[in-house]
Amino acid sequence: MALSREEVLKAGTLSRIRLSEEDVARFASQLSDVLGYVDKLRELDTRGVEPLAHALPIHNVLRPDEPREGLTPEQALAGAPESAGDCFRVPRVIDDGTSA
């Protein structure tokens, strides 16, 4: 299962990881090897087999809707690359027609 350059770039975009041309070449062959290996699952007849997402029966675990202590704003912002007041500062998200 050989990945094309376009597929690797697409995987990079979906993963939000910027890839250099060198990365694309290297990862294309390595990812293709792994995908080639995992293709062996096709040998197995899984018709009618229910997918198993969790090997133990786990159901929605709920608690009463009561407020509990969480992080303080100071704690939450302690690792922030950029902050302003009680907010995390990030590049503009909403396009008002003036951004690039």
Binding site: E7, V8, A11, G12, T13, L14, S15, R16, I17, R18, L19, D23, R26, F27, Q30, L31, D33, V34, L35, Y37, V38, D39, K40, L41, R42, L44, T46, V49, E50, P51, L52, A53, H54, A55, L56, I58, V61, R63, L71, Q75, A76, A78, G79, A80, P81, E82, F88, V90, P91, R92, V93, S99, A100
Partner: protein, 500 residues
């Protein structure tokens, strides 16, 4: 009693009897770390001041006759993907979390502290627990104390090496596809992966949420049981953690010395097939012979989906879950943010490209691909169907036998750099361990010998869900008959660390 030679239980008992102070025990371990870690590089962070403060506090409590906990004064090391809010960083061996300070402790860290343990430092791992050699750490690889040119295994290589080199008596690791058991095997120590849900994952930086488990690494089965006792049990903050009502926490130490009468051992054919090193096989078969002499009955069993198909399943399921779990590292709230970026998306793409190592990138991309439109059914859904087949293999086997045994790793510790260029070859290191995580069952590795070149070999034992008490007793049956634990790496006595 010597803090660097005795078992964790012996150390703990000596402190409890006031034969040794927590302070002197901690000092001895810190001295061992300072002396040996420049060669081994098991630690990413060592908290000399914090450990001394904690030890002094434990001594104060013991002197005042106050309760000091199950592990009072015991020095431990913590894998660096477990959050510690003690001033030490939690980096997951990644640049994307370089210098990051967790605002809370992992549940298991809280438990160790509540039981009086002394946290010596944070240990090295493959970045975000992705790897089988600790070579994927962004902060340098850890060396196998038995042979410094070889890997300690991974991803909990730092924890396994710290214990094997007698720097600390015990450590915590995490296991998603073998990351406690495999390094334990390669480093000649005991490593336990509890049943999924037995130990709270709160504060364990998530890699694959349906596979990750935290477990002990120590030099003896009894020590591992002690640490499991301290850390297992319900925690409301992890909704995948089993309740006390559903699975009451047993006393793992109470019956540890009781052999399992009429023990039926299943020997999976698939664990003794092509690719298994002959010296590893020989050591494991000798261990099985010990069990036979003790009266156990060996039966060949079939786990048709437990090896190659399990690896394929694992590298779809784990990578898919990882792609989701690692989406949070985007430079927004914490961690590395790239300096120059055109816009928000560009910020994500550059921050992650700069912060993640190659293996992490590969796995995130694989997972994203497997989950993407058009491929979801062929990869992810298919993998989950095979996961059910794997689970059925084990259910079938455990109807006939009490446990399954085989080698933990197909080879002894390989040379640093040997598999780094071939991701697929690296993935096959986990061929005997991944099925256990996919099926959520319990497993451990216990030392069962050495190769001619002096490299450790581990015996893997697997039991059904929530049977850790029996698993530990089974392992103890063997451990009682042998004495691998007395053999220490040459490095510890001040000798060289090279293998033949």
């Amino acid at each position: 009693m010597s803090p660097t030679e005795s078992t964790a239980r012996q150390v703990r008992d000596a402190i409890a009897r006031r034969e040794a102070s927590a302070a002197e025990v901690t000092e001895a371990c810190l001295a061992a770390v300072d002396r040996l870690d420049p060669q081994v590089h098991a630690f990413l962070s060592v908290d000399h001041a914090g450990a001394r403060r904690r030890a002094a506090e434990i001594d104060r409590r013991l002197a005042a006759g106050e309760p000091a906990g199950l592990l009072a004064g015991l020095p431990v090391a913590i894998k660096d993907n477990l959050c510690t809010a003690d001033g030490q960083a939690t980096t997951c061996a990644s640049r994307i979390l370089e210098g990051w300070r967790a605002p809370y402790n992992a549940h298991v860290v809280d438990r160790l502290l509540a039981e009086g343990a002394v946290i010596v430092g944070k240990t090295n791992l493959d970045e975000f627990a992705m790897g089988s050699s600790t070579e994927n750490s962004a902060y340098g690889t850890t060396r196998n104390p038995w042979a410094l040119d070889r890997v300690p295994g991974g991803s909990s290589g730092g924890s396994a090496a710290a214990v094997a080199a007698r720097m600390v008596p015990a450590a915590l690791g995490s296991d998603t596809g073998g990351s406690i058991r495999q390094p334990a095997a390669l480093c000649g120590v005991v490593g336990v992966k509890p049943t999924y849900g037995r130990v709270s994952r709160y504060g364990l930086v998530a890699f694959a949420s349906s596979l990750d488990q935290i477990g002990p690494i120590a030099r003896t089965v009894g020590d591992a049981a002690l640490l499991l006792q301290a850390t297992a049990g319900h925690d409301a903050r992890d909704s995948t953690c089993v309740s006390q009502a559903d699975q009451p926490l047993p006393d793992y130490l109470a019956a540890l010395e009781e052999p399992v009468e009429g023990l039926r051992i299943g020997v999976p054919r698939q664990f003794f097939a092509e690719g298994l090193d002959p010296e590893v096989e020989a050591a494991v078969r000798e261990a099985l012979a010990v069990y036979e002499r003790l009266g156990a009955k060996l039966t060949d069993v079939d786990l048709p989906h437990a090896t190659d198909y399990a690896i394929a399943t694992y590298y779809i399921v784990a990578t898919s879950e990882a792609s989701s779990n690692l989406a949070r590292y985007d430079g927004v709230h914490y961690g590395h943010r790239s300096r120059d970026h055109a816009d928000m998306i560009d910020m994500y793409m550059r921050s992650r490209a700069e912060g993640f190592g190659d293996e992490v990138k590969r796995r995130v991309m694989l997972g994203t691909y497997a989950l993407s439109a058009g491929y979801y059914d062929a990869y992810y859904k298919k993998a989950l169907q095979v996961r059910r087949l794997i689970r059925r293999d084990f259910e079938e086997a455990f109807r006939k036998v009490d446990c399954l045994m085989g080698p933990t790793s197909p080879t002894p510790a390989f040379r640093i750099g040997e598999r780094a260029a071939d991701p697929l070859a690296m993935y096959l290191s986990d061929i005997y361990t991944v099925s256990c995580n996919l099926a959520a069952i319990a497993g451990l590795s216990v030392p069962c010998g050495f190769t001619g070149a002096g490299l450790p070999v581990g015996l893997q034992i697997l039991t059904d869900v929530f049977t850790e008490d029996r698993l530990l007793r089974i392992a103890r049956m063997y451990e009682r008959e042998v004495d691998w634990v007395s053999r220490a790496p040459a490095l510890v006595a001040g000798g060289g660390g090279g293998a033949a």
